[in-house]
Amino acid sequence: MIRARGGQLSGGFRVQRWTRLSVVSAAVTVAVIVVLAVVPFLFGADVTEQLTSLLIFVILAVMWNALAGYGGLISVGQQAFIGLGAYGTIFLTQHGIAPYEAMILAGLGAGAVAVPTSLIMLRLRGGQFAIGMWVVAEVFGILVTLDAGLGGGTGISLNGLDVFAPGYRQAYTFWVTLACTTVLLGLVFFLLRRRIGTSLQAVLDDEEAAASLGVNVVRSKRVLFVVAAVGCGIAGALYLANTLFIQTTSVFGVQWTAYMLFMVLVGGLGTFEGPIIGAIIFYLIQAQFGDSGAWYFVGLGATAIAFALFLPHGIWGAVDRRLQLRLLPVGYTLRKLDTPASAGADPAATDT
């Protein structure tokens, strides 16, 4: 509804999207990407590989958050698309396509599969959608297992990356990952900024009211669903490129949902910056405690519950509310006209 940038409202408020801080942070974002891009020149292959998996987590968290935090769709089955991306890459390389091209194509393929899937799944609400997606993931997993050419249930390796010299493979994979992360996050960012973000916000507030105002609820959700599928598909393909070996149980496993849930809840459900922070936190925790077995997962689950109940907008949400930081503005900020726009603290500012 509110579309004017810097437009005036009757009550002495001004609608604002870019604060001075967010202009600065956009510049910082560009700088971070540049710095990340030179990492393979400065560090060894192991650091590069580690950073690749961090970026994969970032993609996954942002995609899951786009669905849950903006579309109101809690999916327990995004591993359906992670698995499709990974196995799609295997399939395409088996048919003579170069690995990195195959990865991108497999990601887009996951998105193509998501279109008919959405026709059934988006008829479901809430918990029905959640478990329905889980069934979809199980079905895809079983179908892949039934194909002996894809290694059946025993797993399969990615061939074709061995043409690169050691060290270069990790570097190339990292650059591809960085490029994909930038493009995918940029895509989600601009999607949420455009009309679809506003209409989805209205849907989250009151789905029926939004529909009666002419917001095309299903279309908006479908766009998000397909984008999230592409993102998860590419993440799955990148995961394959980083580990070189996959099994159906590892890529179609529900543990991916546990990771995504944790990252998004801890970082901040429904904020753009939160999932990125959540992914970094998750990455650090995994590096620290990943070997502690079952207790590690108990801790993840319990932390996710605690955040859902006591800090529903996560760490970023709490920081945002206190400091009114709006680094990468997806929503709009409402400011009183008599306060100078430079000051950050305005109690009337809207939440994202």
Partner: protein, 288 residues
């Protein structure tokens, strides 16, 4: 024909698993993503009682039900009450978190190895009667009969008792239920307790009919959910029918190729979702 009978008996088991899931959804609009893991807790509890104290399985089962009842009550008070008030999506997040916690605590205590009550239940689990070329498993019959008794019991409770009527009223309009003197919170806690106890009962049957391990739960949740959806989120009889359709589909799939057992069930479920009515006995406005 044998396939059909087997499928129907298997359906009885799924219906039993589905009762609690359906009840919680009907009363609170919450889908408990830890439902399957809760059933597995029931299985482990019976296993521990039988193996540590060598008590007969039926006695262990009688002890486990009240324990699960109390656990359900505690689960509502500690987890679901706050989740429910926090919004529609939060119960999904917290019950999924709970599922992760349960699975991994079980893993830590019991190791990933398979457990089973088969050896402790004598011939009950394996014997069958046959007539006219049909082979009918005694235990399968017992499971189906239990499911039917539980469904009839739930039906009776909801329609004939004060407590059940209060539950239906709260399911339809919790605000107004409060205004006529019903403590909605207590009703929700009771519904959760019943659902968890029935899930525990399902877990006991699970422990006797097959091996189980800490990661058995999610599959049980999916089967239970499929039974509820195929039945149309409606009446108890819909749930029973849904369970039977799912069971028959799986058994037919296994007949075609053993690897198709689970797949056929999933496909029937997706086909029902894709159909315009979205459920075999779906009727709008039914609560439980």
């Amino acid at each position: 024909m044998n396939v059909l009978v087997q499928g129907v008996l298997l359906g009885g088991f799924y219906a039993l698993l589905a009762c609690g899931l359906s009840l919680m959804f009907g009363v609170m609009r919450i889908i408990n993503l830890a439902h399957g893991d809760i059933a597995v807790i029931g299985a482990y509890l019976v296993w521990v009682l039988v193996n540590q104290t060598s008590m007969p399985p039926w006695l262990a089962a009688l002890l486990v039900l009240p324990i699960m009842w109390v656990a359900g009550y505690v689960m509502y008070v500690l987890l679901l009450e706050r989740s429910r008030r926090a919004g529609q999506l939060v119960p999904l997040l917290t019950t999924f978190g709970l599922a992760i916690v349960i699975e991994n605590v079980l893993l830590q205590i019991f190791s990933p190895d398979d457990h089973s009550l088969l050896s402790s239940t004598g011939t009950l689990a394996t014997s069958s009667i046959s007539f006219g070329g049909l082979t009918i498993s005694i235990f399968g019959m017992l499971t189906l009969a239990t499911a039917v008794v539980v469904l009839i019991g739930l039906q009776f409770f909801l329609s004939r008792t004060t407590s059940g009527r209060q539950m239906r009223a709260t399911a339809e309009d919790p605000d107004v239920a409060e205004l006529v003197g019903i403590n909605a919170r207590a009703v929700y806690a009771k519904a959760t307790a019943i659902a968890v106890a029935i899930a525990g009962l399902g877990g006991i049957f699970l422990a006797i009919r097959q091996t189980f391990n800490p990661s058995t739960g999610p599959t049980q949740l999916i089967f239970a959910f499929e039974a509820v959806v195929i039945g149309g989120f409606g009446s108890p009889w819909g749930t029973l029918l849904g369970g039977i359709v799912l069971g028959v589909a799986q058994v037919i799939g296994a007949q075609v190729n053993p690897q198709y057992f689970v797949l056929f069930g999933h496909l029937v479920f997706l086909a029902v979702l894709a159909s315009p009515r979205g459920g075999l006995l779906s009727r709008r406005g039914r609560t439980v």
